[in-house]
């Protein structure tokens, strides 16, 4: 019925995931499956538990109950860096770059995980080290071009405007050669024009890099255009899911968002 929610062709599956903090249940019994190659969205009002889902998926929290599967392998309990190696790269709600490092250096940080040489080859200055170092530089520069930052390679990340920092963070995530991008509120702090451009950009990189993307977003309007399937959370639980049009017209969703000025075109 809904191809996007089919477990067999899925890249990321969450089954009955529950995450509690003391008495607070931030995520309760959440299940979903993201199809390979799809752009899915997790939306919900403030405090719905979206960032907690993000933290559970990326490995910062281990849920008390449930299983998470990435590319057919169970990733529950793994460290964030192990999950990244397996093919998932996240970006954060609040941008986390190294502000004093240049654009190129920031992207190169992402390249590290696919590097073969070890640190002592750098310390000893072995020939293989210099070759690989040049390869990583070229790879990072090529990625910078993909996100329109090739003119700013030598500038420090902190000096870039907000939108460019977002794209830089995405480029750094792409440098880890992920199969799945996990974006936590990438449009936060952007005006409507900028968010539309960002969503178009996200669609473009999905096609170019053959990715699957899971978008976590507060604002429903932002994700409507780009997501192929949407899950809606409220108070930590899934209250609706479906194609963008189905979700938009779902009375439960409208009620969850009531009081916020998001529902205008329902």
């Amino acid at each position: 019925m809904n191809a996007a929610n089919d477990k067999a062709g899925a890249i990321l599956v969450a089954e009955n995931v529950t995450m509690r903090f003391g008495g607070v249940t931030a995520v309760s019994d959440l299940s979903f499956a993201l199809r390979k190659g799809a752009i899915g969205g997790v939306i919900g009002p403030n405090g719905a538990g979206k960032t907690t889902v993000f933290n559970v998926l990326s490995g910062f929290y281990t849920p008390q109950e449930g299983e998470i599967t990435l590319l057919g392998k169970n990733i529950k309990g793994l460290q964030p860096y192990e999950i990244c190696k397996m093919g998932m790269a996240p970006t954060f709600q609040n941008i986390r770059l190294s502000p004093q490092m240049t654009v190129l250096e920031n992207i190169m940080v992402g390249c590290h995980v696919r590097r073969h040489g070890r640190w002592w080859s750098a310390a000893l200055g072995l020939p293989g080290f210099y070759r690989e170092e040049r390869e990583l530089q070229a790879k990072a520069a090529a990625l910078a071009e993909k996100v329109n930052l090739d003119k700013q390679l030598g500038e420090t990340a902190g000096s870039l405007p907000y939108g460019a920092q977002r794209r830089l963070e995405i480029a750094r995530a792409l440098a880890t050669e992920p199969a799945l991008l996990l974006l936590d509120e990438p449009a936060a702090g952007m005006n409507p024009q900028e968010s539309i451009e960002l969503m178009r950009f996200i669609g473009k990189i999905r096609d170019e890099f053959n990715l699957s993307i899971l978008l976590i977003e507060h604002d429903m309007k932002v994700v409507m255009g780009v997501c192929e399937y949407i899950w809606v959370m409220e108070y930590g639980a899934l209250i609706a899911e479906g194609l963008p049009d189905q979700v938009r017209n779902n009375p439960l969703v409208i009620r969850a968002y009531l009081g916020e000025d998001v529902i205008t075109n329902a």
Partner: protein
């Protein structure tokens, strides 16, 4: 390595400087050579702490401990057996220490390895604790090392220390070890491994989702830093010819920390400048502790005066220029040429 203009200039500068130092006995007095050696040793210590604190952001206060390990290991390695048996009067010297006798370069490398291995055993529990406790825990470990040295009398000669260490740290030897340290750390810090260390410093969470095993690289940085601290300690012991546990107290760590902070956290050339300037300043301020005759009044020497003045100078530096001399920038050929072409125009 690509052989471009800058590499050529660096190599040429290293060589010319080395030749000058080699001939230095002809135009430098004993005291000046003594200070010059101390400068190179302090450069090694500053660079090693900068890797740990400046590049990786680990606020470690245990440096004196690693320097002590280096100094003792090297001293035991280069002292002849007969001399050791004579000096250990509290308890006879124990077996492996009594018979070891190696060339100086082996002793220095061994000192570094020992310090690095010791650092590994400290790093694993301490870095698991989290960064808030790091300063305290490393400080405590440095004290533990000192207590161990005092009590391991059959190996270290306890609180009596070791005297008459052969002085193999000539000026050129100190220079070569400082270059060795600089080259290796520059390769590490200005490759992508340096980028990930700085990423860990700036944002550990971001580093971990980018597939970086943060703990692994923290331990690595800590141990490599300790390795070079051990090398610096080996040279220091041989340079001073006398070591005892009291020398390696917190004040030593504090001095090294000052070199690094003054030069700029995260700048290797900054550490070189910081170590040079402060070493000279500290020697120069020594005059303050001697009795002074101002013509109309005779001032008695006040011990400790130099640390007071020194602290005031440092306070001024920190208040006036927080990021140190260099900040996170490096003194590169490109920067030097840019500077001169700007001032010509």
């Amino acid at each position: 390595m690509r052989f471009d203009r800058n590499t050529f200039l660096t190599l040429a500068a290293m060589l010319v400087f080395g030749l000058i130092l080699w001939q230095s006995e002809k135009f430098l007095g004993d005291y000046q050579i003594y200070i010059a050696k101390l400068i190179f040793i302090n450069i090694i210590l500053a660079l090693s702490l900068n890797l740990i604190y400046g590049f990786t952001g680990l606020f470690s206060l245990g440096h004196a401990g690693f320097i002590a390990i280096g100094a003792y290991v090297a001293a035991i390695c280069i002292l002849p057996q007969a001399q050791k048996e004579m000096m250990w009067i509290l308890e006879p010297i124990a077996w492996p220490a009594s018979h070891i006798f190696t060339p100086f370069w082996v002793a220095v490398l061994g000192a570094g390895l020992f310090a690095g291995i010791f650092a590994f055993f400290i790093a694993v529990p301490v870095l698991k604790l989290g960064d808030d406790y790091l300063g305290m825990a490393t400080l405590a470990f440095a004290e533990i090392i000192r207590v161990l040295i005092v009590n391991a009398t059959p190996i270290t000669n306890g609180s009596l220390g070791i005297k008459g260490i052969p002085n193999h740290s000539t000026l050129i030897v100190c220079y070569i070890w400082a270059l060795f340290t600089l080259v290796i750390l520059a390769r590490l810090c200005y490759s992508n491994f340096g980028n990930i260390l700085r990423c860990i410093r700036d944002n550990e969470i971001a580093a971990s989702v980018m597939g970086i095993n943060v703990f692994h690289y923290k331990v690595l940085s800590f141990c490599v830093g300790a390795f070079f601290a051990g090398i610096g300690g080996a040279l220091l012991g041989s340079h001073l010819s006398t070591i005892d546990p009291k020398m390696f107290n917190f004040l030593l760590t504090f001095n090294v920390l000052m070199f690094v902070v003054t030069g700029g956290l995260g700048s290797l050339t900054g550490s070189i400048l910081g170590a040079t300037i402060i070493t000279i300043l500290l020697e120069w301020l020594r005059a303050l502790e001697e009795p002074m005759n101002l013509g109309f009044i005779e001032l008695p020497g006040i011990p400790g005066m130099r640390m007071v003045v020194f602290s005031v100078v440092l306070l001024a530096i920190i208040l006036k220029r927080r990021e140190g001399i260099m900040g996170t920038r490096e003194l590169t050929w490109n920067r030097i040429f840019a500077f001169f072409s700007r001032h010509k125009a």
